[in-house]
Symmetry: D2
Subunit: 140 residues, 4 copies
């Protein structure tokens, strides 16, 4: 995981840290960064024209692999920026690198692989062609 | 809300407090007590013979009213006891009073009203007769 | 709890519903509305000039009573509005009524009592005079 | 990540899945598996004689790297087993591999790196010698 995805072209979502996000260590509970990354992916997909992407026409996107490195913690009241950059996309899965910043300081970085499955069988299922075409157009 | 439900006959579930449960104030995040109360209601229902009560045969139980008083906070690593006492039950709803203790100290007490709805329409729907009979048999 | 607090003068925070907010019943998990209400209270306090209100100068605000009525559920991707109206304030506590709307539909309404305590002893402690004066000025 | 850590010697914690754990996709929300893994690590540490390990004598354990693979989802009411196997330990960090099973089916597997920091400065700090000795004795 490198930092070169922090270009001005990365999708970027600002998120405020509330009490619900923190733990008794005085920092954001580390599992919660996965929530912020999903919020950024969701808003990025919305920008691309795909509403309610998690439950889309009998199809469902499920996370099947994540890897996160924590460099420095966010704390209560921080305003963080969460980025999302598409790095791979096929009909049945896509992959994003994501970073979390407080101003210029990199707090967390990660890689998330998402698979497209049938909402009922949970078996792999191709996403609509228009969607995979759009996703591929985002890869630099 | 009185404390007279802390009888030996109340259903009682022990729960350990982990980092995920706490907030930056050094105490359990207050919304989480609703989770512990649901765990106790679920295990109590299981004891009565009703597995997977939240999604039961096209029927669904939804919480439609809660009232909680917080007396003293739980903290990391506490082992708390969560009680559940049925106080009312009809075919379409039931009501429990619940208390949370650390040893003999009452931390939180609440009243939770649960409605039975159709899983699809979310409109009120009667629960099976055997279930409401069992629930009523629990009311002292 | 009446609906007359839905005046144009109520503080109002829009919140998007993400996958993290939902449960297997296909609706928002009911404990999470307490989180949205806290976000609205926090932003309202920020508007009044009080940053990081939950941990303020050795003082801490803790929720000591909540009462919620659930009328209709929010679902994935909803954009809800969360209001906050101050109804009481003293040096050691304040009380807000809060409502959650999807467009004009009232989904959830509640009353939340917050106490001001010493961050270390967790015993009641008066908030700064300027803060209680400001809070009182908000009560219609 | 291989499955050879599923030996009979791995620490193993059973966990029940409740409504709070699930999402609108009808499965456990993927970020929550990090919570279950932490519960297992915490109970494992308790078995080794270390209570309240997350906040231990001015020292604090913080997760600084995670990698998870999701093979199959857990659903409401499942009883899962979460394992923890120590694979590395020094004075300032340790590493565990963890797996989540439903009966014999591997649902999720991961690797978690934990660092020991000063609770106030959040800078690396050695854990007590007795603790690192005990941790090292666990590595097969």
């Amino acid at each position: 995981m490198t930092s070169d995805t922090n270009s001005t072209t990365a999708y970027r979502l600002p998120i405020r840290i509330y009490v619900e996000d923190t733990d008794t260590g005085g920092i954001v509970f580390y599992a919660n960064y996965l929530k912020y990354m999903e919020r950024a992916r969701t808003e990025y997909m919305r920008c691309l024209g795909f509403d309610k992407p998690a439950l889309f026409d009998g199809m469902q996107f499920v996370v099947h692999e994540v890897a996160l490195k924590y460099h420095s913690p966010a704390v209560l009241d921080d305003l963080i920026d969460v980025t999302a950059v598409l790095v791979k996309a096929s009909r049945v899965r896509f992959e994003m690198t994501q970073q979390i910043y407080r101003s210029d300081e990199l707090l967390v970085e990660g890689r998330v692989k998402v698979a497209c499955v049938n909402a009922h069988s949970k078996r792999p299922q191709g996403m609509p062609k228009a969607m995979s075409t759009t996703l591929n157009s985002q890869i630099g």
